[in-house]
Amino acid sequence: MADVKDILGMPRASDKSEAQPKPKEQRAKRPEGMSREAFALLDGSHPIVPSSFVADLAKKQAGLKEKRTPAEKRGQVVWEMRPFKNEARQDGLELRHWAKCFKDNASRVRLAEEGDYPFARLDCKPMIYRYDDEEWDNVIVKDADWTREETEYLLELCEQFQLRFLIIADRYEAPPGKTRSMEDLKARYYTIARQLLIAREGGPEQVAHHTLVKHPFNAETERSRKRAVQALLARSAGQEASDQATLEAARGIENARRAAVVQRKQPPTVETMELATPVDIPQQPAPGSTSLLGADLKPAQLKPGVFSRAAHMREVARQQLANVPGGARAQKQVDTLLAELGPKGEPICATQATCAAYLALRADIVQMLELRKRLQHRQAAEASQGGSEGRGRRAHKGKVPARYDA
């Protein structure tokens, strides 16, 4: 250390007694409540304890007691009626209020809080957009309904009442023959403000996110909103009850719909699965048709005569597959799936119900296989698309432009 100080040309700490007391002082300053070990960590390389930490510890330990100056020092608390000025006011009005003071031993009384009136800083004035002559000529889009005099009168009131449009509309004295509603006044002021803002900032893009530009005041919306509120307030108790009932019903419908959506999203289990192709077996076949089903799973139109139901079922099953592309392969897949029905892969009892269910089952299987095939096609297409893109780019590098340029 001493070498460094030599090099830097700093005075060498010759007196050791000067260096010694300093750490002691620091050690003595260990805040109350902080453990010795923790303080030791700070002591060496980071002798400065973060102030917020110290303050927190002090607060925790001593509460507010320590912060206060003792009563002897600050004196006795007395309350006095004192005049005060609000710096936010321009008229210099002086009012009086009770203020907290301290009286010391020499009976001198001083204010507990000195300085400006603390509430003065809360008086924030909104920025009122005012134009000058040049801006009036160049920037403000003229409104035939508003003269410059009236516009300036409006801006005057805006400034005076700090954009409190309720008051402005109340105090506003419209020129003879005109009525100015609050919406008219607002629309006029905010139009001017927007035009000035855009002109001063150099274009609508610069202030696109400014509230005045982003949400321009719309008098018509405001009027209809007020009409709606008025109508809402003017409702009778009966109307209100009926409205409530309607809303309740709507909520019920909405909930039911949402529940239905949720239910639809849950994959059904095997037991609750809907049969893909519903077949309703008519107990009494309609005149002109039979209890035998066609390939479309509807009662078949057959000529008069006798039929074997089992043979007919096999024939229809064959027809079902006849229209499926890749018939032989599909046939094999269908047979594989049907194998668990029995060695022959078809019902043992060729009743009306079993035949119908069996044909529906085959239709289901054909649909499912078709779907599976399409999914595989799509996956294959996407895989090859991704692959060939990369290859293609490399293979045709340089070649394609030449061909197209020629």
């Binding site: 809907e274 074997s308 043979a311 007919h312 799936l337 043992i348 060729a350 289901d364």
Partner: protein, 213 residues
């Protein structure tokens, strides 16, 4: 339905047929095969019976005029006509084959004969080879349930049928071995498979709708 005024029309053979009427008649075709055991010879290891019967083993003579069983061509006189109940053929043989059963209806029905194929099974485990586990007491029974669907039957046939209460069929040797049928079991099996297929389909549909990565 008796007493209903049913509209009729004239069929292709000049018969009167009932419009919009359907009659369903369940029948069973089957074979019962006994292993001959020690008595088995090279060409006759089994004694079997092929038959057409009513579901409740009732006499079918009021519907069926004649049944022709077409046996394997290696049999003597392979086309066997049976014109009386019970409609069955008893034979001995050593091999399994498809028997073509042709059912003829009474003339007043004006119906063409119907053909039903039935596979003669001699071996229970269906491997066709070993005779070790075969029993001479326990036959191999194969039956198929079928339904004859008469679409718009001839009027005379239908009316005779309606008034008829079929008697039990005459005794058949195979009768003690006839099977009971449970269509509901079939239906349950089919519907269970349909539910599984429907679930697979739903899974595929979900994959379809899911955005591909």
């Amino acid at each position: 339905m008796a007493g209903d005024v049913e509209s009729t029309f004239t069929g292709s053979k000049g018969e009167k047929r009932l419009k919009g009427v359907e009659v369903v008649y369940p029948i069973v075709t089957g074979t019962v095969a006994f292993f001959l055991g020690k008595k088995a010879t090279g060409t006759a290891s089994h004694k079997w019976t092929v038959y057409v019967r009513g579901l409740k083993n009732e006499d079918l003579s009021h519907v069926i005029k004649k049944v022709t069983f077409y046996l394997h061509p290696s049999f003597n006189n392979p086309a066997r006509d049976v014109t009386e109940s019970p409609f069955e053929v008893n034979e001995t043989g050593w091999g399994e084959f498809e028997i073509n059963i042709k059912i003829y209806f009474h003339d007043e029905a004006f119906e063409d004969p119907i053909e039903i194929l039935h596979h003669l099974r001699l071996y229970a485990d269906n491997d066709g080879g070993s005779t070790a586990q075969q029993s001479t007491k326990k036959p191999v029974v194969t039956e198929s349930y079928d339904e004859l669907v008469f679409n718009e039957p001839a009027e005379a046939f239908h009316s005779r049928w309606r008034g008829h209460d079929p008697a039990p069929a005459k005794d058949s040797q195979a009768a003690p071995f006839f099977l009971e049928f449970a269509p509901q079991q079939d239906l349950d099996k089919i519907n269970a498979l349909r539910r599984r297929i429907a679930q697979q389909k739903a899974g595929l549909l979900q994959q379809f709708e899911a955005p591909m990565s």
